[in-house]
Symmetry: C2
Subunit: 333 residues, 2 copies
């Protein structure tokens, strides 16, 4: 668990996109985002108050989160001075970068001397069990995609927000580094040892109130040959009561796999549902989330209407049109 709230470190981000992680935190957990820390030359701006370390400390921030990615996932020397000062000032540090905070001897030394924590959210910090398959109380929904990076995290976060708006108990369960930084907890599934993948998801989504929904962040795709094993573990460890199918209709090949054609939503449904029913025979496909960013609004509207007619399921782009339809489908289960 990462202590909240955060000061969001944008460093010397070359553009707004480089601060995607910080943007996600600000969009989805604004209560976690006390302010932003920008260095000279920073081209990103979240519209939060600019704060130095002392100001952020006074405003209650507990952790400095590296909310920016730079080339190669490195911890830049230019950042080091700020990171060391933050530890000295009493902040924990959290990072999802490929290069780890714990591999930087100076940060480790200062963290030890000051009694602060270094959170590398790419690295599991829990000894997960092997999955037992035992039925858990409470309800769970999982986003599964025709491909990687089609909007599964966004869909899950939007669904979580929509359920809470309707007064329904809901928890977003992060399974990737951005999701973990947004909520302060989760399982970095792609870094878990094979035998414990499904068990880590059981651990992440334990028994809960009968009317509580765990919204499980999806990873990979059953149709993506590099990462399908991770998706499979989510389907069986998550024991979902409901699946949301996620899709990006303009993609011509699977992400990173030229020569692999993305499947249809029907093909995804026909493979994912029987597999999910192994762990939860009552599981149903309840809706479709489409990433329509490369379509005009008219095209998107027509495409979604066609899908609803052909597949008999509510379909929306949660970014463009909201997730209320999907939340209603869950509430009706």
């Amino acid at each position: 668990m990462i202590e909240t709230p955060y000061l969001l470190f944008l460093g010397d981000a070359p553009d707004q996109l480089a601060a995607k992680v910080a943007q996600g935190i600000k969009d989805w957990r604004p209560e976690n985002a006390v302010g932003q820390y920008r260095m000279e030359g920073c081209k990103a701006d979240l519209g939060l108050a600019d704060m130095d370390l002392a100001e952020a400390k006074a405003a209650g921030a507990k952790t400095l989160v590296i909310g920016v990615a730079n080339r190669g996932g490195l911890i830049s020397p230019a950042w080091k001075k700020v990171l060391v000062a933050a530890l000295e000032e009493g902040f924990d540090l959290a990072s999802g970068l490929h290069n780890l905070l714990r591999d930087e001897p100076d940060l480790v030394a200062v963290a030890e001397a000051t009694g602060r924590s270094l959170h590398d959210v790419r690295v599991p910090e829990v000894k997960y069990p092997i999955a037992s398959g035992i039925k858990r109380s409470g309800k769970r929904v999982l986003a599964v995609g025709t491909d990687c990076s089609v909007g599964k995290m966004y869909t899950a976060l939007a669904l979580d927000a929509a359920l809470r708006e309707q007064g329904i108990k809901s928890t977003f369960r992060a399974t990737g580094q951005t999701g973990i930084l947004i909520t302060g907890a989760g399982v970095p599934l792609d870094a878990v040892i094979a035998d414990f993948m499904a068990g880590s998801i059981e651990w992440l989504t334990p028994d809960n109130d009968d009317d509580h929904w765990d919204i499980i962040e999806g990873q990979g795709s059953l149709f993506h040959v590099s990462y399908s094993g991770v998706t499979m573990a989510l389907i069986h460890g998550g024991q979902p009561d409901a699946l949301i199918l996620c899709h990006e209709p303009t993609r011509t090949h699977m992400r990173g796999l030229p020569g692999y054609t993305p499947p249809t939503l029907e093909a995804l449904r026909d493979i994912a549902l029987p597999l999910a029913q192994v762990a939860n025979p009552a599981c149903k496909v309840v809706g479709i989330s489409v990433n329509t960013q490369h379509m005009s609004e008219d095209e998107a509207t027509a495409y979604l209407a066609d899908l609803e007619a052909s597949m008999g399921l509510p379909a929306t782009d949660p970014y463009r049109f909201g997730a209320a339809k999907l939340a209603a489908a869950l509430a009706a289960l």
Copy 2:
């Protein structure tokens, strides 16, 4: 790679079953088994020449393989004297035990002093790539099961032997510790980090001659919620041209999962084949391997005949009736 041939260490095995790993090596790679080393009270006997370290050395053995499991997977203090002496005598050590050779400071010290290697086959020693999905030359067959521990390794080893008997080029590709000890190489898939599972299988089964078969050892089951992610990675990383369905018909629930009913062979076929065709559209189910150990010979014969009629596929118990049928089905592809 573990250096062969081996001296098989049976220690103080309480019964024959405890020496299962050594038995597997002797059965499947007799040319790797120079002799057996038994301590006082050993109740297992492979029918190999009993040798002390000097005799085994003189006979050409390069590695002492711990071919016995004891309670808790421990490296017993009673064994230590022999293991240390073996290192001093110039043997490498290899083990598939849960507790690692490399975690025993005395063994590490002696191995370093003598320049010998400690092989813990449960632990990956390679930095595997992320799977690329690029089509490889050569042919591959994968055994998939309705459950764990239904005879997938035995099926693969028997198939490998049957193909070679027919003069067909074939390599057994181990994915678990027993298989790795038998052949001296492989991927301990259940210990690989999630993101690299499929890539490790691509690494294990690289480009090969067009008329060469890789016989890939299966793991887990798509229907076993604890380990299905591992199976999925084998299906996509292995890019199989052919699947063999493996089954144990008398099992009343999935191994370790009371409350989970094993699927039918038809259900396994209907899930596994479309998933395999994502990575290799030409993939076919070519045969069925049944573990009939809990059936009489008449029952087994009748069951296999029924299966052949109902599923239209060759069906055999390779232990009882040989694997020639399966090898013929592959050769006919």
